[in-house]
């Protein structure tokens, strides 16, 4: 009996001390390491475009027997690994900062937009059967905690003829750092000076009000179950789970539903604006254009301008050329918006700026 008690206490010490750090692994590191001998290219980064990227890599591998291993460890991890040169390319939902760019060990990093994603503002109001209409200012006021009732006059003004209930609004946001939050707060900062001066934009911010849900499923789960809630999830998740989506007033004054077409439209104007000298680290939230959905964003592949390994570099460039051609057509089936054709052409031409195996 004494022996048992002692061994129990020994377990306690181990369990108690190991408890903190052992756990972080099971949620964050989705290790997808395969045997590296058969892999031609290694990449790491954003989780948001992962379903599409994995389809691209598998399609491309089937056609050309080139294996690309991609670890969806998050944009932050992708940037870190690219900077340390442990992967051949990175992927991120938010552009790298100047500081991060200067910290990259392999020289100049180029941003290549791949597809477009968008955030959907979803809500739970059983009484309201038509899609809710919102402006950026109203969304910001709700997430700042300034508008607290669903029948607030500012909401009613956007939704004439809709009987809004006199319920408290409960805000639900992401608790984990994510590109989805980056897009959303980038948009709120663009349309609301109060938001820009307050929480600001980032992958996780200090939310003035609301509950934090982990992942899209955490936010959507809370919104689905709790009447009176409002939250944001990425488009693919909202579509696949049939969540209601608010129509958002864009810069030209139209209320736009989030669809593949309206999201692509948000990038339409940007191709013309960005000349060959652009670094493509651009935000397209609140984009001009009659049909542009305002909470849209690029997601990027990050590659070094100078590819030291000529074989790998050529494979990467070949893949990206395919991605801007055939690859774009498979995007919409997975609820990602393809790039506007003009932009895809422009980016294909930009692939020539990657120096493959060039000596300095």
């Amino acid at each position: 009996m004494r022996f048992r008690a002692l061994s129990a206490l020994a377990i306690v010490t181990i369990a108690a001390c190991g408890g903190g750090d052992a756990k972080s692994g099971d949620s964050t590191v989705a290790s997808s390491a395969t045997s590296s001998s058969s892999v031609d290219l290694n990449g790491a980064g954003a989780t948001f475009p992962y379903p599409l990227y994995s389809k691209w890599f598998s399609d491309y591998a089937t056609n050309l027997s080139i294996k690309i291993n991609y670890q969806s460890i998050g944009s932050g991890g992708g940037i870190k690994q690219l900077s340390e040169q442990t992967v051949d390319f990175g992927a991120s939902d938010g552009p790298m900062t100047d500081e991060e760019l200067s910290g990259a060990k392999g020289g100049t990093v180029l941003h290549f937009p791949t597809v477009l994603g968008a955030d959907v503002v979803t809500y739970n109001l059983p009484e309201v059967t038509v899609p809710l209409r919102l402006t950026g200012a109203v969304v910001a006021e709700i997430f700042l905690g300034k508008i607290t009732k669903w029948n607030d006059p500012r909401l009613a003004a956007e939704n004439p003829g809709v009987a809004l209930p006199e319920k408290d609004i409960l805000v639900v946001h992401r608790s984990d750092g994510s590109g989805t939050t980056y897009i959303f707060t980038d948009y709120l900062s663009a349309v609301s000076p109060a938001w820009a001066a307050g929480p600001g934009k980032g992958k996780s911010v200090q939310w003035p009000v609301g509950l934090g849900g982990k992942g899209n499923e955490g936010v959507a789960g809370t919104v689905k179950q709790t009447p009176g809630t409002i939250g944001y999830v990425e488009l693919a998740y909202a579509n696949q789970n049939k969540l209601p989506a608010a129509h958002i007033k864009n810069a030209s004054g139209a209320y736009i539903a989030p669809t593949i077409e309206t999201i692509t439209a948000a990038a339409d104007g940007s191709a013309a604006q960005m000349g060959p000298e652009s670094d493509y680290r651009v935000s397209i939230v609140n984009a001009p254009g009659a049909n542009a959905y305002p909470i849209s964003s690029f997601t990027w592949l990050l590659v070094y301008q100078r590819q030291g390994d000529a074989v790998k570099g050529q494979k990467l460039v070949d893949f990206m050329r395919w991605m801007y051609g055939d690859g774009q057509s498979s995007a919409s089936a997975l609820d990602y918006a393809p790039l506007p054709a003009a932009l895809a052409t422009q980016l294909t031409a930009r692939l020539a700026t990657i120096q493959v195996g060039a000596t300095p």
């Binding site: 009996m1 004494r2 048992r4 008690a5 129990a8 206490l9 377990i11 306690v12 010490t13 181990i14 369990a15 108690a16 001390c17 190991g18 408890g19 903190g20 750090d21 052992a22 756990k23 972080s24 099971d26 949620s27 964050t28 590191v29 460890i73 998050g74 944009s75 932050g76 991890g77 940037i79 870190k80 900062t97 991060e100 408290d168 409960l170 608790s175 984990d176 750092g177 994510s178 590109g179 929480p199 600001g200 934009k201 980032g202 992958k203 996780s204 911010v205 200090q206 939310w207 609301g210 509950l211 934090g212 849900g213 982990k214 955490g218 789960g221 809370t222 179950q225 709790t226």
Partner: protein, 333 residues
Amino acid sequence: MSQPTHGAVVEPAAPGGRSTTAQADDAIAGSSRGDGVYRFLTTAAAWAIPLLLGLITLEVVLAAWPAFETFGLSFLTSSEWDEVRGVFGAAPMIYGTVVSSVLALVLATPLALGVAIFLSEFAPSWLRTPVAFLVDLLAAIPSVVYGLWGIFVLLPFLRETVMPFLAGTLGLGNTPFFSGPAYGPSMLAAAVILAIMILPYISAVSREVLMAVPRSQREAAMALGATKWEMIRDAVIPYARSGIVGGVILGLGRALGETMAVTMLIGNRHEISSSLFAPGYTLASVIANEFAEATGALHTSALMACGAVLLGVTLLVNAIARWLVWQVAREGR
């Protein structure tokens, strides 16, 4: 334990057992070369654990140092956690970690003890094995499954039944502990899920310890005219006390470090609220939530600092628990 009769039942067994085994150990040790090798291997294994722990602690503290250096004590007292402005304070997480774990312990311990006592003392043997197996099985469920179950079953149940009952029917809504709107994700939800998760640990250890109480102990109590309940209370439980407490501390360690299920149910809000209906945060949750996307050096360091604080909190809470046990055990004698 004030009556001399009961003291007589307990006393001789405990100290006597120790000294005989210790003498036996001494007699066996050092008798041959094989024993020497064996002794060396086990000693090395025993030292490996403190060494590993020391290295982990060192690594975590080193990585956390920039955050401690920048924020000093305010890292422990501030509720500000703002990645955009690079200001980090972990007070809500420390509070949430301790409160959710202690509350879970309060909920789980009586239940687990009840299960253990029933299984070891009352259950017929055909029932004992399957029930014990089912309780142990609770420990095998992955925590993410607990989290999902929590989102889809526990939260609606708490929101629609338990919270209105506590606040309304019992009239506790006016107290600071059960006030405010009942959304579901909350400190209460986290504590309940933790209680369910640590229950099998406490119950399994307690059951084993209770079953290990010698038959003579029970028979002696019975012979003195004790009823079954008196026998359990005065002869069995005191004998098993330190083992039961070991089980409780094991549960506490598990609760302090649990991440996934808590993250999914606690609401993840950087705020200290006295109400159990309000959302909170824990140290383990913030690491799980933010580490993957943390790019800034200070942000990463602040998350490592949370890990270091969690390590400290765990050691501190365990030390306090151990001290309490010691006090209780001494009183009992």
